[in-house]
Amino acid sequence: MAYHMIFRFRQPRRRFELASQFVMSDQSRAKKSVFGERSAGEEVQEAGVSSAVDIISAIEFDNSGNHLATGDRGGRVVLFERTDTNNSSGTRRELEEADYPLRHPEFRYKTEFQSHDPEFDYLKSLEIEEKINKIRWCQTANGALFLLSTNDKTIKFWKVQDKKIKKICDMNSDPSRAIGNGTIASSSNSNITSSCLVNGGVSEVNNSLCTDFSLPPGGISSLRLPVVTSHESSPMARCRRVYAHAHDYHINSISNNSDGETFISADDLRINLWNLEISNQSFNIVDVKPAKMEDLSEVITSAEFHPTHCNMLAYSSSKGSIRLIDLRQSALCDSHSKLFEEPEQAGPKSFFTEIIASVSDIKFAKEGRYLLSRDYMTLKLWDINMDAGPVATFQVHEYLKPKLCDLYENDSIFDKFECCISGNGLRAATGSYSNLFRVFGVAPGSTETATLEASRNPMRRHVPIPSRPSRTLSSITRVVSRGSESPGVDGNTNALDYTTKLLHLAWHPNENSIACAAANSLYMYYA
């Protein structure tokens, strides 16, 4: 049992008609559950028909795993919350380790908000897309959720909180006497300004109000405080800070520091360090821009802070290298403290060698010892204490090798696939074409691999890689191998659809479940 939920995003995008926009259906159980009044199950259409703005462009679980956020090309952020959180989370972990079949995490739609809008940079005559490039969760506080979202240029800090809907009654002044709040306001202002003029100073206002009416010591009993009655609450998102105008190029990553007060944002050539509370200044910590732009040979493709060491961060480049830098060493970290590169490979180099070497995503494993990187053809696992080469390399879609020319022609070769690693660090996943994604066992000695398809009918195509039968496979492979009778993709590459690609995915921080985005649909897989 692998796949169990889809959230599908469709037009219209108006904010207050959310209920009808999301469909959660559980096809494998031939059962549909629908949010909202409309029975929208019938309206679900294939991804190709969906509007381009609904295509999911970022996906991220929060640290607790109780919330999931997605961002899309239309600048919208949608939040989901877990509904099955039981109180015995401690025992759950134990059960999980015992590889015991568990109730899978259920998520439901919580709220959504428009994070970014299309803008126009008049100085550079450039349109700025509203597409959300990355979302990162911040520390929760007072029951409110905080997250950072970014498009190409501007990072925003959001607070999402249940707001009570308030009704105010028992006013002193009769609203019929002064129509609307505006007039009440103006009447109060005129009173105040007149008393200002009499006394010749704003600071006198309080005194004048009091002395004029000679307040009795016991107070005036006819005055009342407004009474607020609140009925229900609904989640409300508010933009708390906007970190803008710090990037000349497109932002590709943002990442929080473990100190809880800073984060970085990386564009093609620079990495900036921000304090969450200060939006008008940032410090440039890495600048790879050469003196002459003609000399440019390498750009930054992704950057991430170490999960526990506040002074370490890694960034990857288009040449396939990953650099680890130590913020303690120097204020400007243009020189790295460690460089991870695949040793130069013998054999012929093709035109594509450099293009496919470009790292599209890097992720630290939970403890920070290992680092996962994805380039066009492979997924690599690095030990940050070993810079001689990757600990393991996994071929994601080796069968594409003869097709690189076609892929170059239609620009697919520049697709940026993300990767993710499970909370326990035992498995990693990354996406491919035809809405497929692959899961690899990354623990030493593990040989498990699995290919899954994000679609409404997940049993359609499975590509089990033969693994030693003696090994106890984890449940995730068990799930996959069940439907393995169909012919593998390897023999069926003509059917490969380059337009349906699974770029974005995220692993739940402490459970074996993966959220992945195919076009406008969000799929949740669990094992």
Binding site: N172, S173, I184, F213, C310
Partner: protein
């Protein structure tokens, strides 16, 4: 809906607006909370207004910030000190909001209130509040708690004191770095209230933990604690407990920690006494001056004078001066700039001979620095050297530096040097100024950038004040007035500007004899901008000159201008005429 008597209407509206949809109106009402409280009376303020505010903690930050501030001075409105405790609940809920500035203000207000509370009230209501916050579920509450321990601790019983110390120690080991940072930055304050017996036993243990924290951000706040704790401890304890820590910090792996040490080191010299300063702190400081991170050198260079002031001159010459020499040719311009801004202060410390022997070459090399900020920083502190060695030794190299800055490509640099010209003039004396700088001052009047021309005009006024009207009459006025024939109208306008600034300094006689004819002549200019500036200028001259001159010359000129074809000229001319009438009316 209750109807309110007419005179109470403003207050009634003020109260209603506490819940208005418009944030500006809510803010307005919160700022007048004391008025509302007085209108309600003390009892109803306690029983209704304060509980009402306690429930208001989900409002906008600006409103909460204003509320936190108002509540800090609210004791008189709730019925005096014995009722101060009713103010604690709303402030407690403000202490838990996630916006830092609101929390900080709430903590500040709580401290204000707590420090006035009676001892048993403190024990009954304030201490439980501290404990509640310290055990808060979310980090925001615990962060706030760190800031109020010192108030709670003072009036406590011994049992409670023990408990509070234990709680603070817990906060120092909190899981969240934010809380540890708050604990680190408030440790010094808390330590001042703790009895000296516990200082060594408990506070220093907490301090040691913080200094070993994994997070750089916590350690660097612990650096600040070094100086604060150092002052509380006996010298021998300080040497034993703080000194090793600071020496360690000065070699920390993180440049940000070393940067903090470089900023704070001089404060510790007093605490550890002269012997340890010589044996430990001077070497540590020398290391920081030679740090390989430029930011650290900048911080260290900026404290050179303060540090040297605490040493005897021999030590300074022997250990610090060689570093200063190195820094004066540092590869980072910001380091040189930081050095240049303080190095002049070393002259009085070293005395005349050493200054000439050691510092003068450094001054001179910095004066020739390729980076304008460095040169400017030296020039701005010129008076300090003048007191020690006199300007003669410097003036040789000074002039090329000034001239170069005066003609710098960047107008901000030119602007900066213009602002120092009066200082230079007073230091260098009239003779030197006449020879060298006079021409520059006139040149600036015709600069391409308006701000420079404006500053140049202002400069003339300040020079006139410095050297007196007679000198100005000889050296400034003729040159300025010559410019009135300049073909460019913007330059002609500068003449008017200079006149308006200089006239009050030069006095009535010179204004009438020299300036007024030029101004009247300018009123016949072909450019309307000149003409209406003449009108404005004439208006400003009215109080300076005699009434007869006003009637005879100024009025006539303005009347002519008031019939000008240009609407702006007529407007300003009429405005000036009105002000003449106004003053004459007032006099008669």
């Amino acid at each position: 809906m209750a109807m309110v008597d007419e005179p109470l209407y403003p207050i009634a509206v003020l109260i209603d607006e506490l819940k208005n949809d418009d944030i500006q109106l809510r803010l307005n009402s919160i700022r007048r909370l004391s008025t509302i409280a007085r209108a309600l009376g003390e009892e109803r303020t306690r029983k209704e207004l304060i509980p009402f505010l306690s429930e208001n903690s989900d409002d906008d930050d600006e409103v909460l910030l204003a509320m936190a501030e108002e509540l800090g001075v609210f004791i008189p409105f709730v019925g005096g000190i014995e009722y101060a405790h009713v103010l604690l609940p709303p402030l407690e809920s403000l202490c838990t909001v996630e916006e830092t500035c609101v929390r900080e203000k709430a903590v500040e207000s709580l401290c204000k209130i707590g420090s006035q509370m009676k001892e048993n009230d403190l024990v009954e209501s304030f201490v439980p509040l501290v404990k509640r916050l310290a055990a808060g579920e979310w980090f925001a509450a615990r962060v706030s708690a760190c800031g109020i321990f010192h108030v709670a601790y003072q009036g406590c019983t011994d049992v409670l004191k023990t408990e509070l110390r234990a709680t603070y120690s817990q906060l120092c080991q909190d899981d969240m770095p934010m809380v540890r940072r708050a604990a680190a930055s408030n440790l010094g304050k808390f330590a001042t209230t703790v009895e000296s017996t516990f200082l060594i036993a408990e506070i220093m243990t907490m301090f040691d933990d913080l200094t070993k924290d994994d997070q750089d951000s916590v350690r660097l706040l612990a650096v600040e604690g070094c100086a604060a704790l150092g002052k509380l401890l006996e010298p021998q304890d300080c040497v034993a407990r703080i000194l090793p820590v600071i020496v360690n910090f000065s070699q920390d792996k993180s440049w940000r920690v070393r940067y903090m040490v470089a900023n704070q080191l001089y404060e510790l010299c007093e605490a550890v006494g002269p012997d340890c300063t010589r044996t430990d702190l001077v070497p540590a400081y020398v290391r920081l001056l030679r740090d390989n991170e430029a930011e650290v050198r900048i911080a260290a260079a900026g404290k050179v004078t303060k540090f040297c002031r605490l040493l005897n001159p021999e030590l300074a010459i022997q250990h610090i001066l060689p570093c200063v020499k190195e820094l004066s040719s540092d590869s980072s311009q910001h380091v040189r700039s930081a050095l240049a801004s303080v190095i002049m202060g070393m002259a009085p410390i070293l005395g005349k001979d050493s200054t000439i022997e050691h510092l003068l070459p450094i001054f001179l090399s910095l004066l020739k620095d390729e980076f304008p900020d460095v040169r400017l920083n030296i020039i701005s502190k010129l008076d300090q050297v003048n007191q020690v060695i006199g300007i003669d030794l410097l003036s040789q190299s000074l002039l090329p530096a000034i001239v170069e800055l005066a003609e710098d490509r960047h107008w901000r640099v030119r602007l900066a040097i213009i602002e120092y010209v009066p200082l230079l003039a007073s230091q260098l004396g009239i003779g030197f100024f006449d020879d060298k700088l006079g021409a520059l001052c006139m040149q600036w009047l015709q600069d391409k950038v308006y701000s420079i021309r404006e500053a140049a005009a202002n400069n003339l006024k300040r020079l006139a004040e410095e050297f007196g009207p007679e000198w100005a009459m000889q050296h400034l006025v003729p040159q300025v007035l010559d410019m009135v024939n300049n073909p460019h109208y913007l330059h002609r306008m500068m003449v008017l500007r200079a006149i308006s600034l200089m006239a009050p300094v030069m006095g009535s006689e010179i204004t009438c004899s020299k300036f007024l004819p030029v101004v009247v002549e300018a009123s016949k200019d072909r450019v309307p901008n000149i003409k209406f500036n003449v009108a404005k200028l004439l208006q400003s001259l009215i109080p300076i000159v005699d009434q007869s001159v006003v009637d005879k010359t100024i009025r006539q000129c303005l009347v002519d201008l008031s019939e000008d074809p240009d609407v702006d000229v007529r407007y300003f001319a009429n405005q000036a005429l009105n002000s003449i009438d106004g003053t004459t009316a007032a006099q008669s």
